[in-house]
């Protein structure tokens, strides 16, 4: 997993927020970073797993 320092994580999260038109306030940044760190660990585990070729995306869930 790629190692990032706190400033780099903060910069990434702010940039990602900008992409979806979210103004991430300074007072929200630390808890968001904490949660994003946990999510990134889970995401990395999922991305690292090789799924056999026959697996297909889930269909759209029913509303």
């Amino acid at each position: 997993m790629i190692a990032l320092d706190e400033a780099e994580k903060g910069a990434f999260v702010r940039l990602a927020a900008k992409a979806i038109d979210l103004d991430l306030r300074q007072e929200f940044l630390f808890p968001v970073l904490q949660n994003f760190d946990i999510l990134a660990t889970h995401a990395h585990a999922v991305m690292a797993f090789t799924i056999p070729d026959d697996a297909r995306p889930e269909p759209e869930p029913k509303s």
Partner: protein, 473 residues
């Protein structure tokens, strides 16, 4: 009269149908008891006195005319406040939804319970937008565990579970996305059912994660659980299955049982493992079995949950972030930032994982696993210490439930006593669409005395006792 208010649904319905008690008297006694006990527990966010009394009079009038008011005649019930109730604003545990218009119609599952003669008496507390396992709600307060009010009831359907555990209501509805029925059912010592994904209608349910949202329910007996579930489900051509769950056709020695190891043993306290072994030992020839990559199933569920729910709330996160519960806000914001590739890969993994687990059900009728890694934590408690590791308690209460709801399998969480006094839960997991097997197994275990709802002791919530709060709302 107050005694009738603490009975199970089957007893109340029988008494009402036979004219031994009037539905309106059941409702009055129930509401009176709630007003005394819920001051301490905070299960309810709203009581529907007038509507409930009016509905009860309709049931009594039908009985007076010799008509059949339904199998749940006069049985009071409550719903987690993310279900639409006609004339009531659907809050989903939030402040943000307070200024929405009132719902025009009842959720489909509420309509069906009412059609069976059940009486809706109130709405119940939950984690904000169902994102949590503790029901420590910043806006509506902490729901306390009826067996020890210094402890959480679990969540996110905490009000629903605590109301049944305190015998305030015999049946309540909740929702389960990652464990929100099974976790509070376990921590409160009652039965919870999370049916197969899409089995019960989600019409009129405020969504959390559309991929995983299930309507679920709570009761103090497996028979009540089965009865209420049957009233809410679509008609099933396999009518014999409906009867099986309640008639007790299933016996503990007739089922092929797998005891889940690996992921489902890690981090669990010895008391938790003892509880699952005790249940497994009630079946002849239970075998240990592992679900491949259950850890990844939990990780994938975690990612899809965060991303879908973050997306759902994006507009309010942009416009009024200060109105969210601080913990929920951080989770939604982080989820909204997750790259799409992760969600797509997680959904592909889901498809693969479902295939692996389906193959395991060729060898087993049910699988057993703990519902939680520990009994109810204290209110405000941040971590649990086990096996040399400190684990954040809230995120990890869904450790053993998330891999199962990830693929939508039906599960009964059955209550088991522990040495420490606080109850635990065991997940009885069946293959898709076979709720009847999970319910039948729970009923068979109850007949053997292996599982049982924990008795409620009203002295436990005496207002004379100090209430310990560590950083709680």
């Amino acid at each position: 009269m107050n005694e009738i208010a603490t009975q199970d649904a089957a007893t109340i319905a029988r008494a009402v149908r036979q004219g031994q008690v009037k539905a309106v008297d059941v409702v009055r006694a129930t509401l009176a008891r709630i007003r005394v006990i819920d001051v301490r527990l905070k299960c309810f966010t709203r009581l529907l006195d007038d509507e409930a009394e009016s509905d009860a009079r309709v049931v009594d009038a039908m009985i007076a005319r010799g008509e059949d008011p339904g199998e749940l005649a006069g049985v009071p019930f409550g719903v987690k406040n993310l279900f639409d109730v006609a004339g009531v604003t659907t809050l989903a545990g939030s402040k943000i939804l307070r200024d929405r218009k009132v719902a025009q119609h009842d959720a489909t599952v509420i309509q069906r319970l009412r059609a069976a003669g059940a009486i809706l008496v109130g709405t119940l507390n939950m984690d904000e937008f169902a994102y949590g396992f503790s029901t420590e709600n910043e806006h509506y307060g902490v729901t306390r565990n009826p067996h020890d009010p210094e402890r959480i009831a679990g969540g996110s359907s905490g009000g629903s579970a605590a109301a049944v555990a305190a015998r305030l209501l015999p049946i309540t509805l909740g929702s389960d996305t990652n464990g929100s029925v099974r976790v509070p059912a376990a921590l409160c010592g009652i039965y919870g059912l999370k049916p197969t994904y899409d089995r019960l209608s989600r019409d009129g349910l405020f969504p959390f994660v559309n991929s995983f949202d299930h309507v679920g329910l709570f009761a103090s007996t497996p028979q009540d659980l089965a009865c209420a579930y049957e009233m809410m489900r679509d008609p099933d051509p396999a009518a014999e299955r409906r009867a099986d769950a309640r008639s007790g056709r299933f016996a503990t020695d007739g089922l092929r049982v797998g005891l889940l190891g690996g992921w489902f043993e890690q981090h669990a306290g010895e008391g938790v493992l003892d509880a699952v072994r005790k249940v497994a030992n009630a079946f002849d020839g239970a075998e240990r079995v592992e679900l491949p990559h259950a850890d990844l199933a939990r990780s994938a569920a975690f990612c899809i949950t965060a991303a879908e729910s973050g997306s759902l709330h994006l507009e309010n996160l942009r416009c009024r972030p200060e109105d969210f519960d601080h913990a929920t806000r951080a989770r939604f914001l982080a989820g909204a930032l997750l790259p799409a590739e992760v969600v797509i890969k997680a959904q592909r993994f889901r498809s693969w994982f479902r295939g692996q687990v389906d193959a395991i059900f060729d060898r087993y009728d049910i699988l057993l696993a703990p519902a939680t890694l520990c009994s109810a934590p204290r209110i405000g408690q941040q971590s649990v210490y086990h096996d040399g590791a400190i684990l954040p308690v809230r995120a990890n209460l869904g450790l053993y439930t998330q891999p199962i709801s990830f693929i939508g399998l039906p599960v009964v969480s059955a209550p088991v006593a522990s040495d420490g006094g606080m109850p635990l839960g065991v997940q009885i997991i069946a293959r898709q669409w076979r709720e009847d097997i999970a319910l039948g197994a729970a009923a068979a275990l109850a007949r053997k005395g292996v599982v049982a709802a924990k008795a409620f002791d009203a002295n436990m919530i005496s207002t004379d006792k100090p209430v310990f709060v560590e950083g709680g709302a």
